[in-house]
């Protein structure tokens, strides 16, 4: 049986790339965790479902970004570090399993945070977990970040339609820009995912603007949260 060539050939340790990935990861995680912990008090006081979904979405995003970094790590430096102790060809797909599950759930939860009042179902959360698990298992067994990217793109369209219908029904024109911020957040997560795919789009010239824009989106949300959680 041919050995699985999960990671492309020639992916050697590059300190610049590693530094960029690490800084990007730390910034995103710091912002996500800030949002999660800053809204804890608010959630504990109110047990408001929307706040619950919102903060959990960012905790899930933080976790998904950690596994995204792990996926990058196993594909780039694991040859130097892990070859003797870990079956490297399995670590990538396992990271991908977690990325798929956590990020799909994060997208679901952030969408639910805005539509939960119109989508009250006893087993809604179980259903979301089941769909996220199903998607991640498919991606795990097919060993393909591309399938995850496509699936999440379909989810993005679903999230846009649901949020649009919700904002139209609520007739609230107070904060229509949040809809746009969420769409950009999902979109740039998906672009982040696509960067795990084929090697030809791994160029730093393409990655860096994606990372910068992703950070800007997170920073916008960070400041909006900070404003209300002093």
């Amino acid at each position: 049986m041919p050995r699985l060539n999960f990671f492309p050939r020639g992916s050697f340790f590059d300190p610049t790339r590693m530094g960029i990935e690490l800084i990007y990861l730390l910034i995103v995680i710091a912002i996500c965790l800030f949002i999660y912990f800053k809204t804890k008090d608010m959630y504990d006081l109110t047990k408001h479902k929307g706040i619950g979904y919102f903060r959990n979405a960012f905790l899930l995003f933080a976790s998904a970004y950690i596994f995204r970094f792990a996926f990058f790590l196993f594909g780039n430096v694991s040859r130097l570090v892990f070859d003797f102790s870990l079956p490297r060809q399995f670590m990538g797909p396992i990271s991908l399993l977690f990325i798929g599950y956590l990020s799909t759930l994060a997208i679901f939860f952030l969408t639910m945070s805005t539509i939960w009042k119109r989508f009250k179902h006893k087993h809604a959360d179980h259903l979301l977990h089941a769909i996220a698990l199903f998607i991640s298992l498919v991606v795990f067994f097919l060993h393909s970040p591309v399938i995850l990217t496509i699936t999440q793109f379909i989810l993005l369209v679903f999230a846009i339609v649901m949020s649009y219908l919700n904002s139209k029904r609520s007739k609230s024109k107070k904060h229509p820009h949040m809809f746009l911020v969420y769409v950009l957040l999902f979109l740039f997560w998906i672009i982040n995912l696509s960067l795990l795919g084929p090697k030809h789009i791994h160029r730093v010239g393409f990655k860096t603007p994606v990372y910068v824009i992703s950070i800007i989106i997170f920073v916008i949300i960070f400041f909006k949260v900070k404003r209300w959680t002093k």
């Binding site: 608010m42 006081l45 109110t46 047990k47 408001h48 929307g50 706040i51 945070s113 949040m178 909006k224």
Partner: protein, 91 residues
């Protein structure tokens, strides 16, 4: 026509009534001022007691009063921020 209050607004209104009555009010006037049916009122009141936002106390004559707890005062203080946050993120 005034729009229907959401859950959080009702909770805030009830607690505000308690605070505005020198942090001590009997159940009947609280029901009257809160503008709720008796069934909804007892549901909300139970929730407030469960969350420890208010507590029931009895005076020497055995009459029952409701007062805000520290947690209740904290909620009232933070309510504007919480409501602003909910509106900002359309939660």
């Amino acid at each position: 026509m005034r729009k229907k209050r959401d859950r959080l607004e009702v909770i805030y209104d009830i607690m505000k009534i308690v605070r505005e009555n020198h942090n001590s009010i009997k159940p009947t006037p609280l029901l009257r001022y809160s503008n709720l049916s008796s069934q909804s009122f007892s549901e909300y009141l139970n929730e407030l007691l469960e969350k420890e936002f208010v507590k029931g106390i009895k005076d020497k004559k055995g009459k029952r009063f409701f007062t805000l707890t520290d947690k209740g005062f904290k909620f009232l203080e933070k309510y504007t921020m919480i409501q602003g946050f909910i509106e900002e993120f359309e939660l």
